[in-house]
């Protein structure tokens, strides 16, 4: 079985309300050192051995990410 992890983030210039809110919240509860928070998705995928990354890319484009407003990065998890 092969493992991939996918990091989904908003495209540049797309507003991230949850991140903005977390940022303010952290500052207001005493973490003034925080200057920016962005909240994206961290997806852990388990697929059959030998599944090529291209397949995973397909899955992201079709379902796991929203290409209209999100970018994503795929990483293979070694020793899985």
């Amino acid at each position: 079985m092969a493992r991939f992890q996918i990091f989904v983030t908003y495209k540049k210039g797309i507003f991230d309300p949850p991140g903005a809110t977390a940022e303010r919240a952290l500052q207001s509860i005493g973490y003034g050192e925080v200057s920016s928070v962005k909240i994206g998705k961290y997806i852990q995928l388990e697929v059959a051995d030998g599944t090529p990354e291209s397949r995973v890319r397909e899955m992201c484009d079709k379902l796991l990410a929203n290409p209209v407003i999100e970018d994503y990065r795929i990483e293979t998890v070694e020793g899985a």
Binding site: G13, I14, F15, P17, P67, V68, I69
Partner: protein, 749 residues
Amino acid sequence: MRDDLKPELAPQLAVELGLKPEEYEKVVIILGRTPSLTELYMYSLMWSEHCSYKHSRKALRMFPTEGEHVLQGPGENAGVIGVGDGWALAFKMESHNHPSAIEPYQGAATGVGGIIRDIFTMGARPIASLNSLRFGTLDKPRQRYLFEGAVAGIGGYGNCLGVPTVGGEVYFDEAYEGNCLINAMSLGLMREENLTSATATGAGNLVLLIGSTTGRDGIGGASTLASQEFDEKAEDKRPSVQVGDPFEEKLLIEACLELLDEKLLVGLGDLGAAGLTSSASEMASRGGVGLDIDVAKIPAREDAMKPFEFMVSESQERMLAVLVPENLEAAQAICTKWGLRSTVIGTVTDTGRFVVREGDEIVADMPATTLAHDAPIYDPAMTRPAYLDEVQAFDPITGVDHPACEYVLDDILLALLASPNICSRRWIWQQYDHQVQLNTVVLPGSDAAVLRIGNTGRGEMTNRGIAVSSDCNGRYCYLDPYVGAQIAFAEAARNVVCSGGTPAAITDCLNFGNPEKPEVFWTFYESVRGLSNACRAFGVTVISGNVSFYNESFGSPIYPTPTVGLVGVLDDVSKHCTLAFKAEGDVIVLLGETENEVGGSEYLKLAHGVVSGRPPAIDLDLEMAVQATVLAAIDEGILHSAHDCSEGGLAVTLAECCMAGDIGADVHVDDDLPKYAALFSETQSRIVVTTAPADAERLVELALANEIPYAVLGTVGGDRLSIEDTVGVTLEQLREAWEPALERALAGK
């Protein structure tokens, strides 16, 4: 004046930004020089179809805009009517079609956000929303994606705000496959004295930007998204999608209403399409003043933003307030209390000029009124579309083989009930909080939503109410725009009347193709004419509305879709009525009379795959008389239920009444008509009502007094719907067909 644009490039850029050469010339004449980059952007957006209504403005003058209830007609962010005891209701409908076709969730969500800002800008607390949706057929995965996304977005935004989404409509038809329609309507309540205007006055007053930061989102959105036809290039336009922040909007609602309550503002405007440019220039020209705006003061979401980007950004959840300097501290304190940014970005001047600067460098300087009011107004050419002769020549009675044997009628009824255009909409409205604020008296699922007038938070309760419905059958409008538009109005009114409301005023959202095509513009003109005449006949005013053109894909326009949002008033909200059959033995009466009119019907499309013929005829006098009869009967308290006949005809109406009341019925229908027509014809001006046997006579008296045809159909009771020997189905069968149909279609079944 500093300029970031080589003068010789101006004409070229103007074209890219959507200005016609002659429009660009007009700008040059107004300014007496070549426009700067910022000015060019500002004019191109303000003079886009979306902002200037340059193709529709003249036709819209046909609408009746003055009437007894009207406190504010078209021209402000929303229209306002009086609904009694000093209460005023602001409402408006708006489209967000093109953004939603690109990103359905965010497109629909920001559509709701935009229309709700229009409402509280008037000083009203948003109390309810409706949505009117059109998609292609659900056998297409893309259409399912758009539909699910739009519904989730509407719920996601409205639920977070705590504004109940109480009603709407949805149709699925190939005509909308390349261009879905997302029309959002919102209503707000206020005391008459709190009615405010988006007007800037008083030289020396301050301009305060409240709410979210400003980023590059939706740059040029107003023109590129809303005023261009859809085609494969849609993909490239994706980045200008905006993400809504309903939490910020909720804070804006509370803060702005408090600012108005405290009488701290001179004027308040919202930032929608064309962002700061639009709201600022409109506020300035309404007040006949000038503005001096410094973009360097605007809180930026991104680095290195150019002045024009600040001016045209469509970042959501921002409001623009004008106030006297003495009130600044108090106003900002309220914003801070609600956790909102507020920044003075400029001042009101007496020059009448709209000046934009970055620090001390002026980057734009033009007469404020020319942006908002001097956009060219066109008289588009129009010709009657050729297709009309063809479709109207089709005789639906002889044109197809109607079922000869009657036993198939059961199956056709069940198939109609399972049609996505008729089946239960529960899947949709249970994703919407339709009860928050505790004023929803009649929940989704009946003909119209009924709301109590009052503010539970302030303990200001009344026993007055309103009923509201949005309607439009695009097929009818395609087959005859004039008649179709009149039916859209008549059905909305009928739905409101069935719920006990007296029609008071409407808003509309006119969705059409490219107005620069004479055949498209003709359908637009005829629809407006039909709608106007219907309004005049009923003495109902148009207080607000929205036009969405260029709803086309690959060159073919959608069905003409003039959606009507109608509001009626109930002096006593307890005197409302629903569609559910109530009691064993109640007498079922049909007010109005069925004709053989299956042209453009769901039956014709479903059973014969045909969208053709003439739509049902509409006789506005008969319509008014039928509605008057129902209102009188409800007022006398003799009606147990009322439900109009719309898509699917009498049989579907009866089935819906049975399912809603969880009780059967035994009826006889008109024997002079072929059964398929008696059951499925979509003849207008028909309402099925029930009454206790003891009151049947009185009901008949009312019908006679109003000189309307009527027929006693039968009685309520049992656990099956029996229509003579032609239809006999159990409640279970009806439900099995009607309840899960949307889920099934969405599951691709």
